[in-house]
Amino acid sequence: MITAVFAVLGLTGVLFGYRFLRGPSLADRILALDGLVATGVAALIARSVQTGSGSFLAVAVVLTFVNFISTSTIARFIDGQGR
């Protein structure tokens, strides 16, 4: 069953990656990057459940925060630069 979780998350990553590569505007790419990192966090937690050890859960917390920092930084960048 956990294999199905990884398969679904992999498909999610592919779809987000398509939008990341394709996205017409910079906001689209940042959006897709946001989703990619969230998918990675979910995959990390699924892997933790699979192995039964929570050693890497701190990485999930840090990734969530870095995701926010990058999104807000680039939003401010778009504010200043126009597009």
Partner: protein
């Protein structure tokens, strides 16, 4: 307990897949943002609850709670900032939504624009 954990993980992953489908298929940046922020938060929270059922160590569950709280706090703020900068850069389609509460701000910022 393991079955419950795996079921919740699968539900959360499915919600993230739905978010990704919305991000690929919607036609507008703001519509994509709408799909991403809500569905991803719900999916991630379901995954975190599934992880809490699967791990059952108080240390790990504290990490999961912290991750969920961070996602809940940061996702609306980041999306709001991104939507605002998108509006200022490109505007919105007025055939979608009549109400434009930022219009006053825009005309104060740059008169005549």
């Amino acid at each position: 307990m393991t079955a419950v954990s795996h079921l919740l993980l699968l539900c959360g992953a499915s919600f993230m897949l739905l978010a990704a489908v919305g991000v690929v298929r919607f036609s507008d940046v703001l519509a994509r943002m709408h799909s991403l922020s809500k569905a991803t938060t719900l999916g991630l929270v379901l995954v975190l609850i599934g992880g809490a059922f699967g791990l059952r160590d108080s240390n790990d569950i504290t990490y999961l709670l912290l991750g969920g709280a961070l996602q809940f706090v940061t996702s609306p703020i980041g999306t709001n900032m991104l939507a605002r900068s998108t509006y200022l850069a490109e505007g919105i389609h007025h055939d979608v939504d009549d109400v434009d509460e930022l219009a006053d701000l825009w005309s104060v910022d740059e008169p005549g624009a």
